[in-house]
Symmetry: C2
Subunit: 658 residues, 2 copies
């Protein structure tokens, strides 16, 4: 094993230093995702959300980026086309880029000439603000270029990374090169300053790494991959400089305490960590660097075993927008930034591609349907920055934020949802998410049309129509979610209680399908012909979940899950209160779909003891009542009120008038 | 009135620009404090705390400043006497200075040659780290002098201010000039760079202003007073520069949004605000600048009417360590930094001196006995940084902090308590605080020995022995606390409920004393002779307090106060819980001194409904129990546990397993 790693490292070093990359070795990636542009989503759960993003969320982003805040104006001023000074925060440029990226995905899904016109208008302004040497950053252009590239905490790299992501997305959506050319000039400028034998640079907020890999994939210029790899290698050696204000913070805050390949545990700022690990996985997928892959596996174990909420959210502490100590997962104070859950989706996809293991999609699905989706209101125009798992009614969805990373981030994720459903290699197709959708894939010389029909996540029946243009033998890998087979999440942080094995059934054309199990997938080796239908039935029981004892915040509490969805109790459904409800061990549940509630959701009901206050307010009693639980992602869409995910099974203590 | 202000301003401007100050006008200050060096404290409440600071707290400060953190080492490295690089935070020098200041006060109270030796040793190291041009700051000396004085958020001014305070204190305590000379060189260096016609400077963390006034008083060099005045005038004009990281913060954060003299409300970081206002009051006391005095009065009204906790703590929000919006005074989340309460003592004393109004001492006393004193453990070696008014048991006193401003700040306050007890002018003596102590004062040609004997705050009887060396006619002003006459605090934020007028009695030599009332003082005009005894009796009933309705955090709740002390209910005295207790409107109270509890405290007891959990943990009942309340400052000295200051009178809602 060690020899193998050593050999791969040697190869990587040779390839990197020679400036050429090749796929001469067996690539680490098991398969490639089918991109969202090849996936048409008509899912009853997701399609309305994608449409809402296209029509409402992007308008909110445009409104706040251009009109209600000076983000676009900063570009005009930097270009000398308008008088004024920089206003806002030094990382505000990134919000423009991220909105452009979301617009790109959205217009690729469904063309919208007004949105494209707006994007072109912004791109002209961005291009005009670029300096001749390729540098682009309105904060430094307007506040003193002498200070550029002197302080790694100032997000010049982060902004540049989002510029690249936007440009690649827009180029892929429209074929227009203008922003891509801006981006290439910027990347070349960065490359001229930093790299082996040049100046050191440790990205203060990781993002540029994964972006440079995208630029490499788009341009095929291996310098960008080398640069991404070099940026990873820069970390953990004390190379950082600047950091004026954050000096006092532990280097762990920006994952600069140890070299990436030696990382054993997740630390610091959660979004930074996610973007770094995504970038490391991306680089490794080209350099075949086992060191990174193994480090990422180790860190991932640390996340899912010790530092992840049941919602797939991460980063429990508001102090550093990130991690504190293992098992510190407070519910009411949970930070769980929306962007960190978006990052979990990005990173876990890469880990799935590198390993072929479905457990990464289990986590991706959890973060997607719970921690991330909670960040977007049903109306599409209000957002959560943090996503706590309990509330005394003080939380509210907001139209925008001073630091406005989350709105465009959730928008770009939803708009590009198609990226996460299917994957393929030369000999097989993977179905990772259960989303009503169509796609097609080449297997050998055959074109396989694939169509999913499902009412997931409300229903566990998924029909997969397989339509090859000619009879073709290949393997279909259908993900069997961990939650459907006794494990709510990978690792041992959470477990079902009173779980009894359920039947998962898989049919081809109405007959039980022969399949093998590997890496969490049901693999059907079959000679596929037109009209074949695979039918998967996942059990959709209400399950009770307990956390490991070391998670003191969840001690003596249980949570409810049905399918991939975590549930919560919200005051509005329960006489105004949620924190006065017990869920004894023997509680039983019913579930029913309510089409008029919260755009249509399956609710869970149970009879449970509730603490009720006497009319004179001087005493309390305990009475059994019917309790309604709703999907976590849908809470706080009817105003601010109490909410709780983890309900106590016994009373330990009581607080009055919280 | 306006003409008068104008006249005074003109005079001030002339005086300032001519470089001369005089007391030609009627000084604004009504009287001057009698300094702690002239006050011997033998109080049963305070003397043990002062001794504890001298023997334990200062050792903790030395231990952490010199041995457990690299604060002293930074000076050695900056002086070139040791190899290494700067470690810690850029404002860490200030902790060394503040510890030196506390040591100075302590050795002046009670000589301790070992402490003085330690101070001399530190001073040698500090002096060695000063640059030839007078600059001193280990962070910039070791991280690049090219960056000094370029970023106002980097605390060079703040560190310098604490250096001055330490030097003045040590000079006054020992007569040794070495640190004072360092200080003068530093102040002259600053003066050479900044001021009218030179560069602008807005102190990023105010402190230098009040320190420069101290330096002026010590050296009689009016340049320092002019500089302090100029620093005040710099604020609010957009002159700030640097602020790399804090750009995004509103200028209100550092009170730089409006000119000081136009300030109408308190904003931003609480400690910064307190030090600014103290400095403004100090400058005004010499320049007779009504503009500052009136602004300070307006801000003070804003504090006591809208932004102060019952404990005298201020700064409710941890986000900015300061103020959010009016009436936002959450109890569990209260930040209430110890340093801000220390600042309240400093500022309110100045306001009392400028106006002669005892209401400022009412606030000073409240902050001192509650919000500030809570910052110091009974053992003297554990500290609170924040001082919340409710706890679910998550709070713990700590040995030290990363940002370690609070320990030395509470140490220097307690060590210099004598500063706040007495004041005088040529014709009168003021008794502001009731503390067993002796002092003497010159009135005309007479020396008046004054001695207080009291068991305050446990007991309302205060005997004041007046011993003039010869019969002398003058006025004795004895403060009648607002809380003793129906007003728990100035303003309308809090009020007594069910209050009935109590008798305040004042005797001379056993006979009812004739006195007049003015500005909150009982004024006894008398020809004093040896052996005269004034006896004040303040009512020491348990009072119930309610907050104004706009303070939603206290809505439907009452707090208990006895004398100047705010009380709280702590779990350890009440079967482990405090948040399950009701305090109905008709509750009655008893109080008793318990000498073995918490170094001796008066406790309050009452019968009250308590929510009790059934043995099986599945239901709750309401039962009457005896509840014990202790003084707020003494909580959390028996481990972490529940605590609540504001108890509900009725149950509105219930939270299980908080």
């Amino acid at each position: 094993m060690k020899n193998k790693i050593y050999y791969r490292l040697i190869i990587s070093v040779i390839l990197l230093s020679s400036g050429h990359f090749s796929y001469a070795q067996v690539p680490l990636r098991q398969f490639e995702p089918i991109g969202f542009a090849q996936v048409q989503i008509d899912d009853s759960f997701w399609k309305p959300k994608i449409d809402k993003v296209a029509t409402v969320t992007l308008q909110a982003c445009i409104n706040y980026t251009e009109y209600k805040t000076p983000r676009i104006r900063n570009f005009e001023i930097a270009a000398g086309k308008r008088k004024g000074k920089f206003e806002g925060i030094f990382y505000d440029d990134s919000d423009v880029y991220k909105a452009l990226e979301a617009i790109s995905y959205s217009i690729k899904n469904h063309h919208d000439s007004l949105l494209e016109q707006k994007a072109d208008e912004w791109i002209d302004k961005i291009a005009a603000a670029q300096l001749k040497d390729g540098y682009i950053n309105t904060y430094f252009t307007l506040n003193g270029l002498d200070k550029r590239w002197t302080d790694m905490s100032m997000h010049e790299d982060y902004n540049g990374g989002h510029l690249i992501e936007a440009a690649v997305a827009y180029y892929n959506a429209t074929g227009k090169r203008k922003l891509l050319d801006v981006t290439i000039r910027f990347a070349d400028h960065f490359d001229s300053l930093f790299g082996p034998g040049k100046r050191h640079w440790v990205t203060g907020h990781e993002e540029l790494e994964l972006a440079l890999v995208k630029l490499y994939k788009t341009t095929n210029d291996s310098r960008y991959l080398k640069l991404a790899n070099w940026l990873l290698e820069e970390r953990g050696h004390g190379y950082a400089y600047g950091y004026t204000w954050t000096d006092w913070k532990d280097t762990a805050y920006a994952q600069d305490k140890t070299p990436v390949r030696d990382t054993k545990e997740i630390t610091g700022h959660a979004v930074r960590a996610m973007y770094l690990y995504t970038g490391a996985a991306d680089v490794a997928s080209f350099t075949n660097d086992d060191g990174y892959v193994n480090a990422m596996k180790t860190v991932w174990d640390d996340v899912v075993n010790r530092n992840m909420y049941l919602t797939g959210g991460i980063g429990s502490s508001g102090n550093n927008e990130g991690f504190s100590v293992d098992y510190d997962l407070p519910n009411e104070q949970a930070y769980c930034e929306t962007c960190a859950s978006v990052g979990m989706v990005l990173w876990n996809q890469r880990m799935n591609l590198l390993t072929g293991e479905s457990k990464y999609i289990d986590v991706l699905e959890r973060s997607l349907y719970n921690g991330a989706l909670d960040g977007l209101s049903l109306s599409g125009d209000h957002f959560f920055y943090g996503n706590p798992l309990a509330s005394t009614g003080k939380n509210a969805r907001r139209e925008w934020f001073g630091t406005a990373c989350c709105p465009a981030n959730i928008a770009r994720l939803v708009a590009s949802l198609g990226n996460y459903i299917y994957a393929k290699n030369d000999t097989a197709i993977w179905v990772n998410l259960f989303v009503g959708s169509k796609t097609s894939a080449k297997i050998g010389r055959s074109t396989i049309n694939v169509e999913q029909q499902t009412n997931y996540p409300w229903d566990g029946n998924i029909k997969i129509h397989m339509d090859p243009d000619k009879k073709t033998k290949f393997a279909l890998h259908v993900r069997i979610p961990g939650w459907a087979s006794g494990k709510p999440v990978p690792g041992d942080l959470y477990h079902f209680i009173n779980y009894s094995d359920k039947k998962i059934s898989l049919y081809i054309n109405g007959k039980e399908a022969p399949y093998t199990n590997d890496k969490g997938y049901a693999i059907i080796n079959h000679e596929w012909k037109k009209g074949d239908i695979v039918e998967l039935n996942l059990p959709m029981d209400v399950e009770k979940i307990a956390a490991k004892e070391t998670v003191t915040a969840d001690s003596g509490r249980i949570a409810l899950q049905r399918g991939p969805l975590v549930y919560c109790v919200e005051g509005v459904d329960n006489n105004g209160h949620a924190l006065n409800i017990l869920l004894p061990d023997n509680a039983t549940f019913t579930s029913s779909f309510e089409k008029d509630l919260l755009n249509g959701v399956t609710v869970i009901k149970t009879e449970a003891p509730v603490i009720t206050v006497s009319n004179d307010g001087l005493s309390v009693t305990t009475t059994n009542k019917t309790i309604t639980a709703i999907p976590y992602y849908a809470w706080c869409n009817r105003g601010s009120n109490d909410m709780e995910v983890w309900l106590p099974t016994k009373i330990k203590n009581v607080r009055l008038n919280y």
